[in-house]
């Protein structure tokens, strides 16, 4: 324990120099701004700003890049709450209740809760990384392809609970998401699958394209239809920051979210993406009145946002201790580290202790910065909602277009997004919820990859998923979730028939 504080002391010594604090601030600020813009994600930003860090020392450069990363994560939630566009997979859940809160004039409270929840989660995650970073690495190594597959199955079962309406329709959407995820070149054989022979589809459908389409564009179309609904959003501003009652309601979800998100974040197979979904599921399940969820429940913002931030931070554990990047942003961090002559791996902690602990200390400082930057900005963001909608949606459109273009520098991506906008509008008309589809899509790719890997390694035996204890445990949880979710639904359906 004393060793941990000695390490943290060393870290804060490095991170609290004037230069590094300034870099952390700049990183968080740029990250927040970029994250707020729909479409421009942290990956593009970090890549663009990488050359600027050439002149800095490695610790400073990494502190700034890490700041951009969590700044963008946080900024993404702002867009999810204000205009119902999730910039990243982890912000999908925030749209469910966050945007509903905004519609009820509680945008400020939602943004404030997200900021405070993220901060609390960040503080805990920093301590966890400092105390348990090294031993937790072992958890990552326990997860082989079979375990990941079972984890993904469990994740898909969460999606059922996300549904706001009919469970059958939620199932439809999950399967549709899975189906969309199989579009593109097959990883193993290189065969094109369902691409219409169209080259831009050969790498599959980009998450940004799908999310901007079915959430962003389709939402604009939906709002254009009922002018009254959108004016209600403008009329009400409400209080700017969460009150005592809100905070009391959020504390427990926030802590549970931190625990869930932090644990899943350690898994190197991009487990962090499941964190917000898992947290939302849990909150909805243990709530006294689950029907409030999807209609602006503050727990539905506090829990997932904390999980999101905790996961974003613990995702550094496999990178710093194993040298293995769990997701695309972390892969970019590997690039940044190698440019500065530090090759991430098991020896970073012993060979560059000032870098390792400096970064961990800077995570806490970064979270504080985010709070300092974002709480004053809440008022500004909420004011944005007062822009007349006839000007707001063309602005959303130009930001989305530029953002999507810059993901791959492919103009055809913008046209695809429009196509998915039409698709999303159709789904709205047919009464389908897009959120479970997006989760199915995100998990689908990983799930197929892991299923095939597990079966090649087990030489085609499905028993591998049951014989391995962790995998079996995860599958058991999945079954339990399904049973709990389906039983009341079945009885409810019969009640409905009864009342008719």
């Amino acid at each position: 324990m004393s060793e941990m504080f000695a390490h943290l002391g060393l870290g804060f010594g490095v991170a609290l120099t004037l230069q590094n604090v300034a870099l952390c601030f700049v990183g968080c600020l740029v990250g927040t701004l970029v994250g707020v813009l729909p479409g421009v994600g942290p990956i593009a930003t970090i890549a663009m700003l990488l050359p600027i860090t050439f002149g800095l020392d490695p610790v400073g450069a990494l502190i700034m890049l890490a700041g951009i990363y969590y700044g963008a994560q946080y900024g993404g939630s702002t867009t999810a709450i204000l205009v119902n566009i999730p910039g990243e997979a982890t912000a999908v859940v925030t749209t469910l209740d966050g945007h509903q809160m905004a519609k009820q004039g509680r945008a400020g409270v939602a943004l404030g809760t997200a900021a405070l929840g993220s901060f609390v989660a960040g503080c805990f995650a920093t301590l966890v990384i400092a105390a348990l970073g090294a031993p937790l690495t072992k958890l990552a190594l326990l997860f082989g392809p079979a375990e990941y597959f079972s984890l993904m199955v469990m994740g898909l079962c969460f999606a059922v609970v996300l549904a706001r309406g009919s469970i059958l329709k939620a199932f439809c959407m999950i399967m549709l998401g899975l189906l969309l995820s199989t579009v593109g070149t097959d990883l193993e054989t290189g065969q094109e699958r369902m691409t219409f022979g169209f080259p831009p589809l050969s790498d599959g459908i980009d998450f940004a394209v799908l999310a901007m389409g079915v959430f962003g564009f389709a939402e604009v179309l939906r709002n254009l239809e009922n002018p009254e609904a959108r004016d209600v959003v403008r009329a009400k501003i409400g209080r700017l920051l969460p009150g005592w009652e809100d905070i009391k309601q959020s504390i427990a979800p926030c802590l549970r979210g931190t625990l869930i998100g932090g644990t899943l974040g350690i898994l190197p197979g991009n487990g962090a993406v499941l964190g917000p979904f898992a947290s939302y599921t849990l909150e909805k399940k243990i709530a006294k009145d689950p029907s409030r969820f999807g209609k602006g429940a503050i727990e539905g913002v506090a829990g997932p946002e904390s999980a999101n931030n905790a996961g974003a931070q613990t995702a550094f554990i496999p990178l710093l201790t194993l040298g293995i990047p769990p997701n695309a942003v972390m892969a970019l961090m590997v690039g940044a580290m190698t440019i500065h002559g530090i090759i991430p791996g098991p020896q970073v902690m012993t060979k560059n202790p000032e870098l390792f602990w400096g970064m961990i200390a800077s995570m806490w400082i970064g979270n504080l910065m985010l709070l300092v930057i974002n709480l004053p900005l809440v008022g500004l963001w909420v004011k944005l909602l007062q822009v007349p909608y006839r000007l707001m949606f063309p602005a959303i459109l130009i930001f989305c277009s530029i953002g999507i273009y810059s993901v791959n520098n492919q103009p055809v991506d913008v046209a695809f997004t429009a196509l998915f906008g039409l698709f999303g509008y159709l789904l709205i008309k047919l009464g389908f919820e897009p959120a479970p589809m997006l989760l199915g899509f995100v998990l689908g790719k990983l799930m197929e990859e892991k299923l095939r890997q597990a079966l090649i390694i087990s030489r085609g035996s499905f028993m591998t998923f049951i014989e391995r204890p962790i995998s079996a445990g995860l599958l058991l949880v999945a079954v339990a979730i399904l049973v709990i979710a389906l039983l009341p639904a079945m009885s409810k359906k019969r009640d409905e028939v009864f009342t008719e």
């Binding site: 970029v34 439809c172 399967m175 549709l176 065969q191 699958r193 179309l221 254009l224 909608y389 530029i402």
Partner: protein, 172 residues
């Protein structure tokens, strides 16, 4: 289950056009996927082929769609609502125009040079803006120019994204 019998006794008819159409939609998508994946080999359990997952997921989609449609004939539900062509046309059209003009394109005899963001930007804002019922042309035009300038400064200069501004005029 007796209740279902009462319902069933009233005959099979479409009680929710929304769910019924949703079911058909799922079946249609599944059919399209099965058609597109028809040549992909299934492989074996030991070495799953590229067609295994798309085909099995498509079958599940179709089954769920069928179930949804059948349910729509038994339980009451939402009706289909109107469709706003104006929004679809202008909003989605604007995005497509942006995609076509930002780097230029060639479709058959039609050839548009690389116009860049200084042209595509105002176009996307202006065309999209026409979708609003309460559109004010003059305000929209000024807004289009202002937004484009702001975006050019933000994306090109502040974030230095490699997005073409106006290659035909400025060379960048």
């Amino acid at each position: 289950m007796s209740l279902n019998k009462i319902e069933a006794a009233q005959g099979w008819r479409i009680r929710s056009t929304q769910d019924f159409a949703g079911g058909l939609f799922m079946i249609a998508l599944a059919g399209l996927a099965l058609f597109l994946a028809r040549d992909l080999p299934l492989g074996s359990l030991r070495q799953i082929g590229p067609g295994m997952l798309p085909k099995s997921i498509a079958v599940i989609c179709a089954a769920l769609g069928a179930l949804l449609s059948l349910n729509a004939m038994r339980y009451k539900g939402e009706k289909l609502s109107g469709w706003s062509w104006r929004g679809v046309l202008f909003v989605l059209g604007a995005a497509i125009v942006f995609g076509l003009t930002i780097r230029g394109f060639e479709i058959g005899p039609l050839k548009v040079p690389q116009l860049g963001m200084l042209v595509s930007g105002p176009l996307v804002v202006f065309i999209a803006g026409l979708a609003a019922d309460d559109v004010r042309i003059k305000e929209l035009a000024i807004f289009a120019v202002a937004m484009t300038t702001a975006c050019a400064l933000l994306f090109k200069y502040a974030l230095s994204l490699p997005i073409p501004l106006a290659p035909w005029l400025l060379g960048i």
